[in-house]
Symmetry: C2
Subunit: 240 residues, 2 copies
């Protein structure tokens, strides 16, 4: 599947963890054993194992080996740069995307600040509602620099913009900064979402960057309070 050796080994080990062939608490084969299994060098194995460790799938213990963790077992959404479609597929709940707005606009002051664009540049504005199990839970307001995304359609926005961007436009989405905070409901929230009795929403500001570090997307994702959940995995950095 992968052209990279270490990435395909990462994938293979990951699928063995997810399928339960390697169970939480269990030791996976030692680096030298994996070298023989995959017929490669130890450094290549170590690259794959370090990726698994970074992502919270295993813990490497010096002198002992690597054991499978269970922190990734039941928890979604876990930290990462992932599209709603990918998330919905993992969650397995019936969900639907409703495109409420799709237009090209000039940036206002808010957008000039968040998307780092000038007044003359064109911006795609996409407003979508995510319906989960029949309830309108999330309001996604996406803004794309038209320089990077010349064309968009309602159909693309309903299916998956990321799939289109990566597969059709060959954009290399690389990293994102996310800011989480809580804000009072706006009229727009009440218009598009089932906010129920709640007075606040959880807001996730998403700044998404391409391979060459250019900012191409700003997203404001507004979640109904009671349905919001986020999981983060973090490693402590020791500098001694």
């Amino acid at each position: 599947m992968s052209e990279n050796k270490y990435l395909s080994i990462y994938n293979d080990l990951l699928s063995k963890i997810e399928k339960g062939i390697f169970k939480p608490g269990m030791k996976i084969p030692s680096e030298n054993q994996l070298v023989e299994q995959y017929e490669t060098s130890r450094e290549t194995i170590r690259k794959a194992l370090n990726l698994l460790s970074e992502h919270g799938y295993i813990q490497k213990i010096k002198g002992k080996g690597s054991i499978v963790l269970d922190v990734r077992k039941f928890d979604f959404p876990i930290s990462g740069l992932i599209s709603f479609k990918e998330l919905a597929q993992k969650l397995g709940k019936p969900s639907r995307t409703i495109v409420e707005q799709l237009e090209v606009m000039k940036p206002d002051d808010m957008l000039k600040k968040h998307l780092h664009v000038t007044a003359r540049e064109d911006i795609w504005k996409v407003v979508r509602v995510r319906e989960i199990e029949g309830e309108r839970i999330i309001l996604d307001k996406d803004f794309f620099n038209k320089k990077f995304v010349p064309f968009l359609s309602k159909d693309i926005c309903e299916r998956s913009i990321y799939e289109y961007l990566e597969k059709e436009l060959q954009l290399k989405i690389s990293f994102a900064k996310k800011e989480f905070f809580v804000e009072e409901c706006t009229d727009e929230d009440r218009k598009y979402l089932h906010v129920e009795q709640y007075t606040h929403v959880v807001v996730v500001r998403n700044y998404v960057y391409l391979d060459d570090a250019s900012l191409f997307q700003y997203t404001e994702s507004r979640h109904r309070l009671d349905k919001f959940r986020f999981v983060d995995f973090a490693r402590r950095i020791h500098l001694h």
Copy 2:
């Protein structure tokens, strides 16, 4: 400072970024130039650069070089495993910790589930309020397995438990899983915090693990809605 070559190079480059010697948008020296500067091998330089990249400080671009990002510039708290003392020092706001409870207890059902302990084991319960700029903003309820932390005092809890655990007890805190969600205020919240008019709090469940993957701490951190903020940096995983 560090015994590790690649970690000390990571530190050195990081401090140059934080001091503004390397500014956002700027290229840092190429790997080969750094090899000469630090008199080391390219693989060692690459380990340092890959760490900086993971943590959101630089973007490596094939064929071009590494450029400094600004996503880490103004934002705290950013994702990571960091103590309140470390956080408060970075934020620079006047803050104070008030120890409200400190006792040894037997686990109830909630704790047996969250801390993976049996009914017979002893648990440290520490309830602390974090006062920021004079307001009681955060309620931290920490639970430590007494097996790992035989002794605690009010003084330690006021200063920094982590500093005590790492420096005195030599515990190797390794990784954590954090769950974020929103919950209705409890009587306890209203007792200890200035919740004002808010009906909900942001809850952060923290599961903290040692080097050998043993769960030693469970923390419930309850934040006043309007003061909560969290920043996450994520890289997209491409598997092709």
